[in-house]
């Protein structure tokens, strides 16, 4: 099933990716041809098959709930473009009603 320009734009917005107009067209064409190829999966009868997400016989592997050392706050935010006092700094998210 081919993917339309609108759908490409919608998916790009969900993926938080901005595309130039010619990129939208190119992706619509490329994704359509890939989706046409993967469509051959509908040849196969999978009515009674359980989806396989994880191929090894492990379930809910947890460790003991004991506090232990991890990265310090400085190390953890050290790779960020903007950080201060162990916090990541980001543009304002909420409008607090005062002057912008």
């Amino acid at each position: 099933m081919p993917i339309s320009r609108e759908e490409v734009e919608k998916v790009a917005a969900l993926s938080r990716i901005r595309l130039a107009p010619d990129e939208v067209d190119r992706l619509a064409s490329q994704l359509s041809s890939i989706l046409a190829y993967v469509g051959k999966l509908s040849d196969l009868d999978t009515e009674t098959v359980e989806p396989l997400a994880h191929a090894v016989p492990l379930r809910n592997v947890l460790r003991k709930d004991e506090p232990r050392m991890s990265l310090s706050p400085e190390e953890a935010v050290g790779g960020a473009a903007d950080a201060a006092d162990g916090f990541f700094r980001v543009p304002r998210v909420l409008d607090d009603g005062t002057a912008a």
Binding site: I3, E7, V8, V11, A12, L14, S15, R16, I17, R18, L19, L27, Q30, L31, S33, I34, L35, Y37, V38, G39, K40, L41, S42, D43, L44, T46, V49, E50, P51, L52, A53, H54, A55, V56, L58, V61, L62, R63, L71, E75, A76, V77, G78, G79, A80, A81, D82, F88, V90, P91, R92, V93
Partner: protein
């Protein structure tokens, strides 16, 4: 003695006997890297001073009679999607992580250092391990040492080329749908993808979490076994790491498998296989028959085209989730000139990601989105279960499955970059093994008339690496492919 011509196992013995120092071995490799890198571009980062310092330490400790690690003094390279907290950047060959320094090292990197290996640098890859040619690197492609106009394969192209060009005897790569095995085949080296869960993924930058595995690239089966031994095993920091004992791969390597039953899937010899590739692979099967193995025709009906379809839905879905973390906030590139938070995310990601990464994120997001999830992602996950069942049925009849690792030998740079689907089809024989979460390796089995390597793929059931290595060794013992050197290596050494 020419250190560059030694295998890792020979180097280990020479260093152990005192005939070769870690410093000499490292210096030879660094000299080869300096000479060949301008032509090949296998590395994104090199740390020669650190490497020489560590080599000197290894020599001192050995001289004091200390017990040395498995890889003592052996120069090794790691793919640049493994976190290294030693001052080198970890970029995943992406602009979004350009210059990023990891605050911790991957489990396998810690294991290498613990076994006294000399890590000399980080190798080139397709961006975020997405690709089959290393052309998707944001920092330029790597060239195939056997023909510099051709690709080394991908995504572990840098690691494969570094080993093939004898810059280092050992390298680690990662394999999600074939990214160790395919470049190994195109570069004429041994590459092994272990069973999912055999090697810890802690510190491997995630692409597709249910498929990613780390494995060795080396010129010989023995060297691959040595490197696998060093890095395999349970790690509590990776909850998908399986607590299964690691056998001593080197101890049994020379024992042939008596009564070996080889399955030859007819689907692996379809119309897409190049004639010279098929001939080399069938000759290799002939060698096994002469050694007493029994060949049986088998069928893996969903292991080629359906596996590619399932893979490019499952892997891209997982990637769309894993790559959501690159948002300009926590690490890596943050764009300027944004209007608000969402704008910042969009600009940072659009500027930082290359085309293939964007394409896969979009495909995965689409496959998981409301209204499409059942038809795409869930369907692919069901087909994955079928593929696993197909292999289980085949392994009730045979011990291993064999066929070509790739449909063709190395293609030219730029040859497959216009149509993504054409590139995806280079993985047609490798993806099913990843989806089934079992083990597979590629071993060199000849050359085309143009002098390009051909790889034989050997696939085994889960946790059968020990047998896989012995089977590969049976063939390697009868042949001599590893002796041949790429033309670019000839000349002053």
């Amino acid at each position: 003695m020419q250190p560059l011509n030694l295998t890792a196992c020979e180097m280990r013995e020479a260093i152990g006997r005192g005939d070769l120092s870690a410093r000499e071995a490292t210096q030879s490799c660094l000299a080869a890297i300096e000479r060949l890198e301008p032509k090949i571009h296998a590395f994104l980062a090199l740390s020669p001073q650190d490497a020489l310092r560590r080599a000197a330490e290894v020599d001192e400790r050995r001289a004091r009679g200390e017990r040395m690690g498995l890889l003592a003094g052996i120069p090794t390279a790691v793919k640049d999607n493994f976190c290294t907290a030693d001052g080198q950047a970890t970029t995943c060959a992406s602009r979004i992580l350009e210059g990023w320094k990891a605050p911790y090292s991957a489990h396998v990197v810690e294991r290498l250092l613990g076994e006294d290996a000399i890590v000399v640098g980080k190798t080139n890859l397709d961006e975020f391990a997405m690709g089959s040619s290393t052309e998707n690197s944001a920092f330029g492609p790597t060239r195939n040492p056997w023909d510099l106009e051709r690709v080394p394969g991908g995504s572990s192209g840098g690691s494969a080329a570094a080993v093939a060009a004898r810059m280092v005897p050992l390298a680690l790569g990662s394999d999600t749908g074939g990214s160790i095995r395919q470049p190994a085949a195109l570069c004429g080296v041994v590459g092994l993808k272990p069973t999912y869960g055999r090697v810890s993924r802690y510190g491997l930058v995630a692409f597709a979490s249910s498929l990613d595995q780390i494995g060795p690239l080396a010129r010989t089966v023995g060297d691959a076994a040595l490197l696998l031994q060093a890095v395999a095993g349970h790690d509590p920091r990776d909850s998908t790491s399986v607590p299964q004992a690691v056998p001593d791969y080197l101890a049994t390597l020379e024992e042939p498998v008596e009564g070996l039953r080889i399955g030859v899937p007819k689907e692996f010899f379809g119309t897409g296989v190049d004639g010279e590739v098929e001939r080399a692979v069938r000759e290799a099967l002939g060698v096994y028959e002469r050694l007493g193995a029994k060949l049986t025709d088998v069928s893996l009906p969903r292991a080629t085209e359906h596996a590619i379809a399932a893979y490019y839905l499952v892997a891209t879905s997982e990637a769309s989730s894993n790559l959501a973390r690159y948002d300009g906030v926590h690490y890596g590139h943050r764009a300027g000139g944004y209007a608000d938070m969402i704008d910042m995310y969009m600009l940072s990601r659009s500027e930082g990601f290359g085309d293939e990464v964007k394409r896969r994120i979009m495909l995965g997001t689409y496959a998981l989105s409301a209204g499409y999830y059942d038809a795409y992602y869930k369907k692919a996950a069901k087909v994955r279960a079928l593929i696993r069942q197909d292999y289980a049925a085949v392994f009730r009849q045979v011990d291993v499955v064999m066929g070509p690792t790739t449909p063709t030998a190395a293609f030219r740079l730029g040859e497959k970059t216009d149509d993504p689907l054409t590139m995806y089809l280079s993985d047609v024989y490798t993806v099913s093994c990843s989806l089934a979460a079992i083990a597979g390796l590629s071993v060199p089995c000849g050359f085309t008339r143009a002098g390009l390597p051909v790889g034989l793929q050997i696939i085994g059931d889960a946790f059968s690496e020990e047998r896989l290595l012995r089977v590969a060794r049976m063939y390697e013992r009868e042949t001599n492919w590893a002796r041949r050197r790429p033309p670019v290596c000839e000349g002053k050494s």
